[in-house]
């Protein structure tokens, strides 16, 4: 067989193209100026300390990072992690059938569905969250519906619990799960699924052994896009969670705005960022073939 190496398409490098690498420059400049430079400023601040009445006292110290090693903060991190993970899992569970369904529709309808999914998010976040309050509260829509259907005898107390926070997070970030999933699934060659079926796979096995692994890039992208903002969320926990628990997002917001300890807030942010990046990198390393973004 004479075919020994098959160049994969993205390896193919057309030298005539190289010249248009400059197209990257404006974006690089923009992000350099308006993202990386500002980030450096905050990084510097994270090593400073808070002035007596807020503001920044310019003394180099690691105190902010060391302060974080405190069971209290670790607990906040842990709880946020659990909640954000749950939100991610629920988004995945909800979003997958939807994305799969969309991917198998005629092109025209795919568009309609995408827009349909985005529209709710053109309304205001706060107003949407208030609407959820109305739905979830003791005498709210959900309880009334469940009661009248006879599914429950006493109203479920869900508002102002972590359950409500979870619902809010899932609601808020569902599209960020659906869109990448849809993109990955639309690319999936369906004959591979048929091949599995032909090879005795049941519906469950087809999903678990073929569809899911092949949609992995989408799953990873979607999970990151849901998980990260979920960790940083602070309005949803306050409003739907009744302000009874703190998530990392609340903590950061609290430090920045209420306590006005910007150095500490920045330190928390960087630790959070580092943890997320690290886990993302690890995750991507594990699933090498999913390493495209």
């Amino acid at each position: 067989m004479s075919v020994t190496s098959i160049p994969t398409s993205h390896q193919v490098q057309n030298p005539a193209h190289r010249r248009s690498g400059w197209l990257l420059a404006p974006a690089a400049l923009w992000m350099g100026a308006f993202f990386f430079l500002p980030l450096l400023v905050v990084l510097a601040i994270s090593f400073a300390s808070r002035g007596t009445y807020g503001g920044v006292e310019w003394t180099f110290s690691l105190a902010n990072y060391l302060n974080l090693v405190d069971p209290l903060y670790l607990k906040i991190f842990l709880r946020s992690l659990v909640l954000a993970s749950l939100a991610t899992v629920f988004c995945l569970l909800l979003g997958f059938p939807l994305a799969y369904h969309m991917a198998r529709l005629p092109a025209r309808w795919q568009w309609a569905w995408i827009v349909l999914i985005m529209i709710p998010f053109w309304t205001n976040f706060l107003v949407r969250t208030y609407a959820w309050m109305f739905i979830l509260r003791t005498e709210g829509l959900m309880n009334q519906a469940l009661l009248s259907m006879g599914l429950i005898d006493t109203p479920i107390e869900i508002l102002y619990t972590e359950g409500a926070v979870l619902i809010g997070l899932v609601y808020g970030y569902l599209p960020f799960m659906v869109l990448p999933l849809y993109a990955a699934l639309a690319r999936l060659d369906y004959s591979v699924v048929e091949a599995a079926w032909d090879l005795y796979a049941t519906a469950w096995a087809r999903f678990w052994r073929v569809i899911l692994p092949l949609a992995k890039p989408g799953v990873i992208a979607g999970c990151l896009l849901v998980f990260i903002p979920s960790l940083g969320a602070f309005i949803t926990p306050d409003i739907l969670g009744g302000g009874k628990t703190m998530m990392v997002g609340n903590l950061i917001q609290h430090e920045y705005l209420v306590v006005r300890d910007w150095p500490f807030g920045s330190a928390i942010s960087f630790v959070l960022m580092g943890a997320v990046l690290l886990s993302a990198v690890l995750y991507l390393k594990m699933g090498r073939d999913g390493a495209e973004w």
């Binding site: 398409s9 490098q13 057309n14 005539a16 193209h17 190289r18 010249r19 248009s20 690498g21 197209l23 990257l24 420059a25 404006p26 974006a27 690089a28 923009w30 992000m31 308006f34 993202f35 990386f36 500002p38 400023v41 059938p97 939807l98 369904h101 025209r108 309609a112 995408i114 827009v115 349909l116 999914i117 985005m118 529209i119 709710p120 053109w122 309304t123 205001n124 976040f125 706060l126 107003v127 609407a131 109305f134 609601y171 659906v178 990260i228 903002p229 960790l231 940083g232 602070f234 950061i252 917001q253 920045y256 807030g265 920045s266 942010s269 960087f270 960022m273 990046l277 993302a280 973004w293």
Partner: protein, 263 residues
Amino acid sequence: MRKVQVMSDRRTWLLSASLANLVFLYLPIAVLMVFSFNDSRLSARWEGFTLQWYRALATDDTLMAAVHNSLLVAGISTVIATLLGVGAAVGLERIPPWGRRLVEGAVVLPLVVPEIMMGVALMLFFVLAQVPLSLTTVTIGHAALNLPVVAVIVRARLRKLDPKLEEAARDLGATAWQAFRRVTLPLLWPAILGAVLLSLTLSLDDFIVTFFTAGPGSTTLPLKVYSMVKTGVSPVINALSAVLVLISMVLIALSLALQRKAD
């Protein structure tokens, strides 16, 4: 028929799961729409039907100014993010692999930064650079927020494009720019449209970065709404949301109908 049964068992299952998703997504929207007709300033109970919030909406100049600012910021930042993001996606394809990996990493980073830190960072940066906070700085911030999103989406599509198409154009006498303009760009449209949609959505609803980068006279709709919390968010916002949703629905229906005609 049998066929219909077997095939549609799965189809109906998927369809109902998808519809359940839609219900989930639209339930709060329906609630807020209902409350836009509620004769009470506090959306606590149904007090009767009224159109007063729509009337108020029509005459509320500050709210309209906020909407105007929001649309302006979303529009311009999306244009910037799209232009630069598409450029980045295209350029990325054309640099050596080691550089590509570096840039890919750099593009993911903004997606990982807590938004509030991004806001604070931008605010400090502008102040250091002596740039007065204004709608311009908000727009810059939003563009920085959305640029990676656009780049990621467009790049994914670009990687699926056959590089031979652009070569074919070059072979037929097109300059590099013409080839891009006449072949690659039209083929990227779906992805670009998707990116624009997402970028607009993110920008329209952004509070945190906007809050930190906004200056005098640059109140956007989310800023306006969040500042209402002390005295209660007015149902006028519900009315506004309802109008927005309805307009978008009509637009989709129209475009679907137009496409059907074109087929």
